[in-house]
Assembly symmetry: C2
Homo-oligomer: 416 residues x 2
């Protein structure tokens, strides 16, 4: 039976970043750049003031202090966003606001705090014809140079960058209102089985609700994909064939089915998948999640997840999520992990890679602790809702002892 690592590597060979699309900047949040972004401008575009104060010539204020103030004539008052209409010549200053373009002639900004404006409040403030300079900052002080943040023609963000709010802001600052990102993958989701009823249908005897469709659709959305929900296919060749073909026609980049792929199952799902495409394997050496089909159907990679809800979630996490992230252009998609102190013994006697649901929290010493979330049966969906991490036990590890430090893959980050 193929190992988890080999199965994942094999499956991921069938996926690559999808083609680029240009989207509005805000819609690019969380997406991955499909091209380098080069700045057409300097940011800031001009030398400008980093402070509210007075633009001066450093030569004029040499030696200025509270005891020995230098009096300058104020020739203009300059707000951010306006172009200087005056020049700073010997013995003069221009009152300037943060962000305003440094006027010609000036090389230094003296903050209000080092002028008579601060000392006398507004006595010599806006509109005054003169100001006393009470300090002598170095030449160039409080001046932001053009291109200090970004230089014209510089690559500011490389292809492959995931866009967070700060990258969105950076792109806005250079006027990139639309950006090229890899498009979102379309994921077809089909539940199979005569035992399933839809969420809004009466639950008659012997039936269970189709929950995998919802868990899978939410997991696709969370990973950044778009789901194509195909509902339930009944265990007959006609219905299965029709719904699989519908998903292919709808432009799926990945096809996810659930149930019908176990060894003991009636062979209808398996027969239809084999008839419609070419299946490569049907089992992976893991627990839960041993039944796991992979192949190419109608040109589209298809993952046949197990029917048990917990198995389906663990298999999605292990195989479908990395495939979706790969199509989005992401290259690093390992979940974060922590080292945690196991609060009870864990055992693995299946000879498979065992994924144990755990809840991780921090103890009083700031160390992480991990507690299993009870009954680990693959039908017990409630146990995974109590979990925020997975403890993986390799096939050849039979036991972790209570108190042992173990690596936990975090599905969510532990709440602090």
């Amino acid at each position: 039976m193929i190992s988890v690592e080999d199965a994942r590597a094999y499956i991921l060979k069938h996926f690559a970043p999808l083609e680029a699309e240009r989207v509005d900047l805000v819609d690019a949040l969380g997406r991955v750049l499909a091209e380098d972004v080069v700045s057409p401008i300097n940011v800031p575009p001009h030398n400008n003031s980093a402070m509210d104060g007075y633009a001066v010539r450093a030569d004029d204020i040499r030696g200025a202090s509270a005891q020995n103030p230098v009096r300058l004539l104020v020739v203009a008052d300059l707000a951010a966003g306006y172009v200087p209409n005056a020049e700073v010549t010997q013995g003069t200053a221009i009152r300037i606001m943060t962000g305003a373009v440094l006027p010609p002639g000036a090389d230094t900004v003296v903050r209000f705090e080092e002028t008579s404006e601060a000392v006398n409040q507004k006595a010599t403030g806006k509109g005054s014809s003169a100001v006393e300079i009470l300090g002598a900052p170095a030449r160039g002080a409080n001046v932001r140079l053009a291109g200090e943040d970004i230089r014209k023609d510089q690559v500011i963000l490389e292809k492959g960058t995931t866009l967070r709010p700060s990258e969105i802001g950076l792109l806005a600052s250079i006027g990139a209102g639309h950006v090229a990102v890899h498009r979102r993958p379309r994921v077809a989701i089909l539940a199979t089985g005569d035992e399933l009823v839809a969420i809004d249908e009466p639950l008659t005897e012997g039936k269970i609700r189709n929950s995998n469709e919802y868990a899978n659709a939410a997991a696709v959305l969370k990973a950044g994909g778009v789901s194509i929900r195909l509902g339930i296919a009944r265990d007959n060749v006609e219905d299965l064939t029709r719904k699989i073909r519908a998903g292919i026609r709808a432009g799926a980049d990945l096809f996810i089915t659930s149930a019908g792929v176990s060894v003991g199952d009636y062979d209808i799902v398996k027969d239809v998948l084999n008839a419609e495409g070419e299946m490569h394997f049907w089992q992976v050496n893991m627990k839960p999640g041993k039944p796991l089909a992979f192949g190419i159907v109608g040109g589209v990679p298809l993952l046949g997840l197990p029917g048990n809800p917990v198995s389906a979630i663990v298999s999605f996490e292990t195989f479908a999520r990395p495939a979706i992230l790969t199509m989005l252009g992401k290259t690093k998609f390992a979940r974060p992990y922590v080292q945690a102190i196991l609060q009870e013994r864990a055992e693995n006697n299946a000879g498979r890679r065992n994924f144990i649901r755990v809840h991780v929290s921090r103890n009083g010493n700031g160390e992480y602790t991990a507690t299993t979330t009870g009954e680990q049966g693959s039908g017990i969906l409630s146990s995974i809702t109590r979990a925020n991490g997975l403890l993986e036990m390799p096939p050849d590890v039979l036991e972790y002892k209570r108190g042992e430090r173990v690596k936990i893959t975090m599905l969510d980050y532990p709440e602090e």
Copy 2:
């Protein structure tokens, strides 16, 4: 000047979870339940088989082994989803698939692997009139009991639970096609300043692009809010007043402005905010981000962020994000933190809480290391795009030494 902790506590007193709305289950991903959810059914609804095998009476197979098989008459073949139309009486068995309802009379399931079906392949498989039982599992083996996952009338998820894909699946399994969650907050976003040009306008001399609107809109979206983008208000009373009133009328739950709230700024933004509402404070003892206004305008809490892009992002993170999460119903919203080895000296001589942008990664020993991302000027947006964490230095901490272990608040989890 008010401390960061006091400002945050004061601001958050003005927010509470918003009213509930009923949404389609898949749209509830990431939202918070506004009511306890009680299951109307047992899950599974009936005792059923946990394996593919034969439903038998434990009394009939006592002592069965490969050497001493017990031969049973197969009276029916039962797929998942179908109701048993036969009974298991003494000396008989029903072939049963995983998930099928346990037939009357049966109390135990023997897996295929422990029957002649596995040994002889399908020689005695589906359709056979008899099977040999080669093992004697305990009474009740491989039977899932009704209500084993969820009991009828049990609270399966409590009010306040954030819905992940596994909770969505759990809710689907009990037929909860719509759920009550706290509605998403609407956040009005208004940039102010004569120096700003819109992203698609020509960048004339002295102007800079309105980037804060985009960073803020993306941050609102990422936190789970809905943004109301009001564009740019010019530094005049009429335009500011009109746009602030438009945001209030549009039903904002939180109003975010940027720029115009520094001590040295022209007083137009301050005058209009004071005229339209009641402002509570204008500064917080932090760096970057000292200019930070908070008050109530038109009945809506208003955060006046600084104009510097980095200051705006740090202030959003510190004050706006917790407010949005509170409105969504979340109660634990601290970012994850790590202990990291600081790769260079960090100093804090402002007497304020200093937020230093750092990049955290893991070294070869699995330890986290933190490196500052260069120039920390509050105008240098590119430095925050290289950061995945913030190092906070309290006002009274003047220095962290190179090699010191420091706590880093993670904006993103470090890639492994």
